[in-house]
């Protein structure tokens, strides 16, 4: 029995199809996978910069202290010294960037009650009051100044 090209023709055709398929895959892959994929690991390295590019909504304590030195100085001696401005005033990155001229004041009761309402589970040494008995329906800022809350 003699081997002839005719017997192997179908194999050559098959090999050609595989070769073309492989080429198409290689070209498509090179086109679709970003250049920075795999430079740091099995991910797109540029995704790190995408995440970094976002604008912060909270300005951060340092940004507040740049302008509001009087309040920061007052608070430094008071019991709220370690509480950052945005803990009560909310996110004010827009104000720090100059987009919002005059942000809304925090509520003079709800803001305080959030932390200082007596509740089980709070640490013993943390200052709390039973709000209804302590203040009735009055706002907290009737008696306390928020930046220096201890009544002199």
């Amino acid at each position: 029995m003699q081997f002839s090209f005719k017997d192997a023709e179908h194999l050559v055709r098959l090999a050609a199809i595989f070769a073309i398929g492989g080429l198409v895959f290689a070209v498509a892959r090179a086109q679709m996978v970003p250049d920075d994929f795999g430079t740091l690991g099995h991910y797109r390295a540029g995704a790190i910069d995408d995440e970094r590019a976002r604008t912060p909504a909270h300005a951060g304590q340092a940004a507040c202290a740049e302008c509001h030195t009087d309040v920061v100085e007052l608070r430094a001696k008071a019991r709220h010294a370690a509480v950052s401005c945005e803990a009560c005033h909310g996110a004010l990155g827009s104000h720090a960037r100059g987009e919002v001229e005059k942000p809304a004041r925090p509520d003079g009761r709800e803001t305080c009650v959030r932390c200082h309402a007596a509740k089980t589970g709070k640490p013993r040494q943390y200052p709390t009051v039973p709000v209804k008995e302590h203040a009735g329906d009055q706002t907290c800022i009737t008696c306390h100044t928020p930046h220096n809350p201890r009544i002199q």
Partner: protein, 252 residues
Amino acid sequence: MMDRRDFLIVGGRILVMTAASAAALEHVLAGTPEAADTYTTVDHWWAMTIDIRKCIGCGNCVKACKVENGVLDEPFYFRTWVERYHIDPADPEHPIVDSPDGGKNGFPEKYEDGVGKTFFVPKLCNHCTHSPCVQVCPVGATFLTPDGVILVDKDYCVGCRYCIQACPYGSRYFDPRTNTADKCTLCYHRITKGLKTACVEVCPTGSRQLADLKNPDDPIHTFLRENAVDVLKPQMATGAKVFYASLDGSVR
């Protein structure tokens, strides 16, 4: 008349000056020195410390996180949330856990003072060193950055939700706006600019602290040394990097 020697000297100077001025211009275009990017990922290894004894369950962190990251307001989308644990001394193995609206607006009084034990446990992504979510992602859309933060590449995520199932801490959710998985980024856009994370920024008692394990002066080293510290589900060997001080054994 300029000879060859002079020509070379003058020509050389012009070349050097051009290069120097080009470099200077580039520096100017990059902005003021403070604004120029000096952040190097490999110099940091971010973590967080949470002191259970200091948490008052005010929910400031949950609220600030939603604002900072534009998280949907429905009570099942959270990047961080606070759980209230109540342990009845008659049945200490089955703590009662609740987290109304993720603790965003505090906790309505439910337990009688002096009966059993009640405490608050803030939770968030643990930014695991050996993270199950990264291991299961089939497309490389979620990954550990060189500075130790787990991020999601929303351009690459195909929305298969494997990672949401794989996370032992329930830290992930599916964002219906983008049809991708989403989670806490440890405020990567803030910490790489020298700011604290939003939750740490607004925590009134300092219960939460952002920490950099590669910084030898970071208070985390004292924190780890001087407290009874644990991570959540240590048996999962995830290499979790959110360290809790005084974590009760009943916390899951």
